[in-house]
């Protein structure tokens, strides 16, 4: 979905999100959080979604030119890689949204980009997300395109070698857990963008809590304000 909002599009940084009210009706009641996938001309925001429920069904039926209420940009985005670091991106499904924005912001820099989908039909064309000249290695659960298996199967090779690396990842929780575990084991820097049910997006409701890792002062972190991008070590990956 493309939204025209110069104030949000010009301020949004990769990894940040917006809270979208899909309709004025009170059912569905809550806004939906979406990572910004891309911005264009300092005025247009691209959000990526798949129809999974009531809210996204309404989005799919929204006519061009409709006026929607959008709150953002919210949360903490990705931290840029260090000068000498090799960048490895690992995306699962719609989790490609914030990574596409980050990839684009890194310009000419070389990125090893791995993206996993359920099946070939779900693949989102990189051009649609404003990504040009970035080669994406694909994985599908059913083997209909690219590597046959989870995208984490493409991770090991990327983590090898001597160069200093940073991994950026977003996708379903089991995938992120795997990515985070491997990076923490190998001592590779890793930033993950988490998804959570969320009511306010502003730090007030505390509904989007995630269990914090052992080094953290607090028991729970909030996806909306402490994240949605976290250092993998900040999260307790054993928790729910």
């Amino acid at each position: 979905m493309e939204l025209e909002s110069p104030s949000i599009a010009s301020a949004a940084k990769p990894g940040q999100f917006v809270m979208l009210r899909v309709s004025e009706s009170s059912d569905p009641l809550l806004r939906r959080p979406f990572s910004v996938c891309s911005t264009r001309d300092g005025a247009i925001l691209l959000l990526l979604y798949r129809v999974v429920g009531k809210g996204t069904r309404i989005m799919a039926g929204t006519k061009a030119g409709s006026l929607l209420s959008v709150l953002g940009p919210l949360g903490r985005g990705f931290e840029a890689p260090g000068a000498g670091e090799a960048c490895l991106f690992v995306a699962g499904g719609m989790g490609i949204a914030p990574l596409a924005f980050l990839a684009r912001s890194l310009g000419e820099r070389h990125i090893s980009f791995k993206a996993g989908y359920g099946t070939a039909a779900e693949i989102i064309a990189p051009e649609l997300m404003g990504m040009k000249g970035i080669e994406i290695a694909l994985a599908t659960d059913d083997g209909s395109a690219g590597y046959h298996g989870p995208v984490t199967g493409l991770l090991e090779k990327g983590l090898g070698g001597e160069s200093r690396k940073i991994v950026y990842s977003c996708g379903p929780l089991p995938m992120l857990r795997k990515v985070a575990d491997r990076c923490l084991e190998k001592g590779v820097a890793c930033q993950v963008s988490l998804e959570s049910a969320m009511a306010c997006g502003l730090g007030a409701c505390q509904g989007c809590a995630v269990k914090a890792g052992p080094g953290e002062e607090r028991a729970y972190l909030h996806v909306c304000g402490d994240g949605p991008v976290f250092d993998a070590s900040a999260i307790d990956w054993g928790g729910e």
């Binding site: 009210r21 009170s26 809550l30 809590a209 729910e240």
Partner: protein, 305 residues
């Protein structure tokens, strides 16, 4: 056309208008400050405080339901000491009534939280959450027993020098019995309703969606239930009543005022529309102006029966 006077008086408490941000939905006020000028509100009820900080429940903590949501945040909060040190100085600078929601898991804890807030400059009133389990009584919720509700009220009053509002739970057989007991114990005002208990099951996993199993239902789904409870309680007590429950629009707030509420709180509505409080306030003013109502108090209880 005369501008209506929106000032309301709730016993000893004076508010510049009847729209209050509800506890747990507005954080400590600062979270919404970029979107809502808190100085325009009648009041803010800050997130419920306990004596010690509490981390809250395991996630998932919230789930959307038809025209509503369930929450089981687990009363996560920074504790009363950190509130006084870190949050109150900013709140004190506001030109609005800052009401502090408190809770405890024993009578003693209620007394201690109240005592910690006694004399705190910038606190206009306490709102007492009696919808939590009593550890001394096998986890029975304080607010389900009129006598226990009265005991909590007395304990808080004994330890507090500001007006005390008691927030009632709807999860009872007769909310009027609890309301009367709390009134007799000396409460200055009542606020109602707190959330209704509910649950959602994920049939794919066969598990409750919330890690806590149950949560509190809020939002427009509960509005008619809340409105009727306010209507009944207003007729059962003499102290002022603050109406809460699924208020999203000016018309919703007007319904509660007509049922007899002296003021309203907007809770879950803030999530869907962060500016809900201000839009409701504007809508109430417009309604009064159009109807030639000069004082908002004249609207309270103005129900044709």
């Amino acid at each position: 056309m005369n501008q209506p006077d929106l000032k309301v008086t709730l016993g000893p408490l004076e508010l510049k208008n009847p729209v209050i941000a509800a506890s747990g939905t507005f954080g400590y006020g600062q979270e919404y400050a970029p979107l809502v000028d808190p100085n325009l509100l009648g009041g803010i009820v800050v997130k419920g405080l306990s004596l010690k900080p509490r981390p809250g429940n395991r996630p998932p903590r919230i789930v959307e339901t038809p025209a509503g949501m369930l929450n089981a945040i687990g009363l996560a909060n920074i504790g009363v000491e950190a509130f006084l040190r870190e949050k109150l100085p900013w709140l004190r600078s506001l030109d609005t009534a800052v009401m502090v929601n408190i809770y405890g898991h024993s009578l003693e804890e209620y007394g201690e939280v109240a005592a910690a807030l006694r004399g705190a400059e910038g606190v206009a009133a306490l709102e007492v959450n009696i919808s939590c389990p009593n550890v001394d009584r096998g986890g029975m919720v304080f607010g389900t027993d009129p006598a226990v509700s009265a005991a909590v009220t007395e304990t808080v009053l004994k330890n507090m020098d500001k007006p005390v509002i008691v927030k009632l739970t709807p999860n009872v057989t007769d909310i009027c019995a609890v309301a009367r007991a709390v009134e007799n114990a000396g409460a200055h005002a009542l606020s109602l309703i707190n959330t209704l208990t509910g649950m959602v099951i994920d049939t794919k996993t066969g598990r409750p969606v919330l890690a806590n199993v149950s949560g509190g239902l809020s939002g427009p789904a509960i509005r008619p239930v809340a409105l009727h409870m306010v209507y009944r309680v207003v007729r059962a007590v003499k102290i002022p009543v603050i109406g809460i429950g699924g208020i999203m629009e000016p018309d919703d707030a007007l319904q509660f005022l007509m049922a007899g509420a002296g003021a309203v709180q907007v809770g879950t509505g803030n999530f869907a529309n962060p500016r809900a409080t201000l839009e409701i306030l504007e809508g109430i003013g417009k309604y009064c102006a159009e109807k030639g109502i000069l004082r908002i108090g004249d609207l309270t209880g103005g129900l044709n029966e």
